[in-house]
Subunit: 303 residues, 2 copies
């Protein structure tokens, strides 16, 4: 298989000079980390594209849900690093089919989630394109040096996940019920991310945007470890395939020292132990004793 | 005429709650301003779209120039507020025609300008789209409370501009010589912006991205003033129409108290006094005694 995004990121990384003054973490995690001079907080930055015909379809996705999900994708990255979201910027390229009603609905959905999470829409850019394209930038803050990262998992750590997986993939296939709502309006796990940072002291964390098999592979690559998967909590009605390889769930995948106290649930979302970090080839994942291929959604792999 | 972008921004502003904690300036200036807790600096944020068939054409614009200009657009916004650029994030949606050579050229152009201006590429997002779309986010820093803004012009202030205008429009039409280079690889006036903030104490500043007539109108609207234009420095070979209404020059438009000392040039760019801020209907601009219509490039006006 072709690992388009990982390969391209590696190529770009080789072209880069070392990070500049104040930039603590560059490419390769959910957010970039910036340390303002004299500040007691680090700032987290993430940018996420929301593209017509790639991330949504104009005929099936209501405008409000597209706006909501545009921001939710960025918030989920801030959640994954244990941050408090602060403000966002939106670049929006409007398509010829977009009318005033659609634009109002889009902003209403986005601003509703912004209100619920205490985020200010602070600026952006506007333009025209053949297909609608939105790019959201979210800035969050985290106490200096305490951001959760992908590269902290150590052999022996337990692997955990929030929620039940495959719901968004099921929803996209069925367009009905709770699974469709999960696909349309995911709830970014912002409070859970802060809890994992400040109380659980998770050793690594990332959000599940591209599917468990690919995202766990990425976390293991970043940490230089292997993993053994024992169980996967499956969304009601979804298949194991959807739970392993379906994208867009925006749950949190995290690791914690073996003795760490993790509650059974957090604000209604179950927290389940799904495996153990192992020594071994970086990125290798076993499930039921056999290698698990990273088959999740890679935006740069031909579909 | 239909003022698409201004109207849409107004509509969005009416939907917004007041700015949140730490966000000093939201929509409506070149950058958003964020004040991190305890920091001696304010942070500036800008996001700019670079869209195929809107901002560049794949057959006429070399990949390196597209990468350079993507970053230059963001840097110019930081320059306009007197900031020091620090890092950038890039969201890139690749089109079906994009090959490895193009992508390498694009990153090489972008990273060359990043190197020259001390900016780190700290992260981003990757995706696919029918036409290539890039969104750049640039973060800059400025001493607390000292960012140059659009809304500080007062009646009696002198109006100034850097460089000669209309070069990028001439270049797009002729695709030859210095004008074409000006269009392809604009030099954002970063050092000039800092100089205007720290030494000239400019009362207002913005960058010329959409043409003098529209951008001066916007500066006057933000400051609640009118303006009288006496002279326009025209790029060699360009028409007055191109100098007044052509976009993409990325020069700085600024105002300063009548007695301020402004040098004749800065790092090779002439600085010319072009008019005076007047009392009057906000946004009204006179040129040679007659009203000047804001005809510059509005990305949301049908072309």
């Amino acid at each position: 298989m072709r690992m388009g995004e990982i390969e391209l990121l590696k190529r770009i990384e080789r072209m880069l000079p070392p990070p500049g003054r104040g930039v603590a973490l560059g490419l390769g995690d959910d957010c970039a980390i910036f340390r303002p001079a004299g500040s007691r907080d680090d700032l987290l930055f993430t940018t996420d594209l929301m593209l017509e015909d790639v991330h949504f379809l104009r005929d099936t996705h209501p405008a409000g849900a597209v706006g909501w999900k545009t921001l939710a994708r960025g918030l989920s990255d801030i959640a994954a690093m244990g941050g408090q979201p602060r403000f966002c910027l939106l670049s929006l390229a409007i398509a010829p089919w977009t009318d005033d009603k659609w634009i109002n609905g889009f902003y209403r959905g986005l601003l509703e989630l912004a209100r619920r999470t205490g985020v200010t829409l602070a600026g952006g850019d506007l333009g025209h394109a053949e297909r609608l394209a939105a790019d959201i930038v979210v800035c969050g803050s985290v106490p200096r040096g305490q951001a959760l990262r992908r590269d902290g998992a150590r052999p022996g750590d337990a692997i955990w996940v929030s929620g039940r997986l495959g719901g968004a993939a099921l929803g996209l296939a069925s367009r009905r019920g709770a699974a469709w709502r999960k696909h349309l309006q995911p709830e970014p796990r912002v409070a859970l991310g802060r809890f994992l940072r400040s109380r659980v002291h998770a050793s690594a964390c990332m959000d599940l945007s591209d599917g468990l098999s690919l995202d766990l592979h990425r976390l293991c690559l970043a940490s230089g470890v292997a993993a053994e998967l024992d169980a996967v909590p499956v969304f009601r009605g979804a298949t194991l395939e959807q739970a392993l390889n379906g994208g867009d769930d925006y749950e949190l995948l995290f690791t914690a020292r073996a003795g760490a106290t993790v509650p059974e649930s957090f604000q209604g979302a179950p927290l389940e132990r799904i495996g153990t970090v192992r020594r071994g080839r970086a990125g290798r994942v076993l499930f039921g004793g056999r290698p698990l291929e990273p088959r999740g959604y890679d935006h740069l792999r031909p579909h």
